[in-house]
Subunit: 428 residues, 2 copies
């Protein structure tokens, strides 16, 4: 049986899990792919870190960049992370030197994926990154292979387990954002610095990768991104009363030949599939033709799920054929029009915290009317023991930019106590 010689660079939680997995499962993975995954070398920043397993001294590379130079290495698995520095150097050099690359690095692929793909194609090696998007959910392979026949019109879903855990816990446990976040950190569901998970950047990187795969386009940075840090328990309770859940969703969709990419908290009907996905799960929904709607759901993060994805990538290289990293040759990828969402129509939930003054309601509704946004529902709740009220407005479908105008204008009024909220609604 043939051999494929592998260097794993980066031995944190994921690298360590993968190393041990490949040691234990070498036989079955070899049998399935008719080729032996031979982990010949490893490299890690902290060679002396305590590990629960031992690695033969001969396996350690002197310098991580040796992985890109040694003739006896066929495949480099990059598990360093980050879009710049060591990870970038390693992956660029490995591909330039005709090594296959498997990576879990969404930031790197979202930023440099187009350049990297061109080098891989030129040098006839594979660049695989299933593990960079939604951990164990085989979404990239499904788009590139299982659903290859389809013209995809829309892909959306829950792409970040940390933020979904926080939103669903706030909903279920009647706790506020910071209590839930602290709990998530204790449980290992949120990192010490969870900002990329909470501000939408993590979802944004994943969505850029997915939309370029779905639409056969180059990566595009025209993407609207909002995180969940502004969502409070009151919004979740209001949403519930209105028949919705709040989820951090990523969307990439084609409408009249224009592509919109967006990441934002969304009110979505309680009865919908996406609303039912709680905790750290990821869920992806694809609308394609001829297949119709497909759903793929699973564990989105963690060493075990990520290893599942890494091994699927390694296996595809073991089986031996060369594929286009973005499912189609760089020369055939298109420069499509990516539009800002300001012109797209949404219905929306807006929340205003106001002083209980004469004429406030009339003033607010007047601003809506001036901006030609029609109100579907309005709820005014006085705060207990205070001269303050909350006004919640649900609108009919209007241009996104109208909402921003309204919020901007109303936030200048002297009756506004707190920055107003705008959360888009998905009524599908």
């Amino acid at each position: 049986m043939k051999n494929l010689n592998i260097a794993i660079v980066g031995l944190g939680n994921i690298g360590s899990y993968l190393y041990r997995y490949l040691e234990k499962n070498k036989k079955i993975i070899s049998e399935k792919n008719n080729c032996v995954p031979n982990v010949l070398y490893v490299s890690a920043k902290n060679k002396k870190r305590k590990r629960a397993f031992s690695i033969n001294k001969k396996k350690w590379l002197k310098n991580y960049l040796d992985a890109t130079k040694r003739n006896d290495i066929d495949l480099v698995v990059e598990l360093i992370g980050g879009s710049e520095g060591a990870a970038k150097k390693l992956v660029f050099n490995a591909l330039k030197n005709k090594k296959h690359v498997v990576t879990a690095n969404k930031a790197l692929i979202a930023k440099y994926g187009d350049q990297l793909a061109k080098i891989a194609e030129k040098n006839k090696v594979n660049l695989e990154f299933e593990a960079s998007v939604c951990g164990g959910v085989p979404i990239i392979r499904s788009i590139k292979e299982g659903l290859i026949a389809n013209k995809i019109k829309k892909i959306y879903g829950i792409f970040n387990g940390t933020s979904n855990y926080i939103l669903s816990s706030m909903d279920k446990e009647d706790k506020n954002f910071f209590d839930v976040l602290n709990n998530a950190k204790k449980l290992g569901y949120a990192e010490a610095n969870p900002s990329a998970d909470l501000n939408g950047d993590d979802v944004s990187a994943k969505l850029k990768i997915l939309s370029s795969l779905c639409f056969n386009s180059f990566l595009n940075n025209n993407i609207h991104v909002e995180g969940i840090a502004n969502i409070d328990k009151d919004d979740i309770d209001n949403a519930n009363k209105l028949g919705y859940k709040i989820k951090l969703l990523g969307y990439a969709e084609v409408i009249n030949n224009k592509i919109y990419q967006r990441v934002h908290p969304t009110l979505i009907k309680k009865s919908s599939y996406v609303a039912s996905i709680d905790g750290v799960l990821n869920a992806v929904i694809i609308d394609g033709s001829p297949v119709g709607q497909s759903v793929i759901q699973g564990e989105g993060a963690g060493p075990a799920a990520t290893t599942s994805a890494l091994v699927s990538d390694i296996s595809s290289i073991l089986r031996g054929n060369i594929k286009f990293p973005f499912s189609i040759s760089s020369k055939d990828r298109k420069k499509l029009k990516f539009k800002n969402i300001s012109e797209r129509f949404f219905s929306a939930y807006l929340r205003f915290e106001v002083a209980d003054k004469y004429g406030v309601l009339s003033n607010i509704t007047n601003v809506f009317s001036k901006n030609r946004v029609s109100i579907k529902r309005l709820i005014q709740n006085p705060k207990k023991n205070k001269d303050k009220s909350t006004i919640v407005i649900v609108t009919h479908s209007s241009k996104d930019k109208s909402y921003n105008k309204i919020v901007k204008e109303i936030d200048k009024k002297n009756y506004i106590i707190k920055k107003s909220k705008l959360i888009r609604i998905d009524d599908n």
Copy 2:
């Protein structure tokens, strides 16, 4: 760019859809796979049937078996159907003559898949059958590639859209079995002869294929199969009152190194994911290690969804590498122990239609106690204006064979008006 010459044999709804799809999408499929899918020949029983599109006269094979003989054919797409006769002859001969085969024929693969895989492996050609299981849901490719790293413990779900449509319509529309079935026929959701969809045979064939893929075993006929023809509106209403939906589910699972395969109507919690799948959709849930639980859902049937699967198979052959049809070489596939479910533990719903006589309830509960089945819940409802009652019993977990004994014994009693019902419960 390379060419792959294809013969499509069988031009019913699916074959026609595929033919037209490949005509329209030749360019993009070629670009994605770096090889042109060239439909050189077609064959159909009824050459003169009216079709909405024209086929060049030169493309028609004189005899369908020419597809297995002509040197200019690389790949035969079999869309005749049925496990015997023409389909069997075509696929066996094609593989023997070193042609790749793509088929949507679950009956053929479930019966002869092991033999066919051996021939394909010996002759180094591909045998692909994604379209034979769950239409557009890329479940086979996900097991063989996306989730290749995983040791799968359980696969289950909704594998038949027709029966799911009937059960969910009975539930929602307050109609009985035959009204819903007639409506399903009108809507094209059920065939003129829907017996394989209703008696569980369709699910059984799919499950055999999936379990051999999941467990790296040969196909095995030890499978318990029950259909839905006995489910009536009262069962569905009773289930609702107890907090369940009734679904026709297929399960393949490893418990203590033994494999159980079973297809039967199941009471499953309303809050579960599977209970929420209505209409003609298919949904597959896989429990694997390291990935955890994955869910894949989509359109299970129809020419469009099936074409999506066929094209994914054709594409994998266009890309050029040879794979094991059952994800592992025939010499490495295992002869695992497949056990009858009689020894497996379930909780169950039992329904007895009885004459309202003195001592009936005591007699029934006595039979349960004698067979050491403990009752969790018992509901007795008198029928209106009649001396009859319905007794519904929900049990704690017991061996499956105990239930069969109980039903057999009670059905002999003179107070029994109608054959008693046993429906297993899935409390996960």
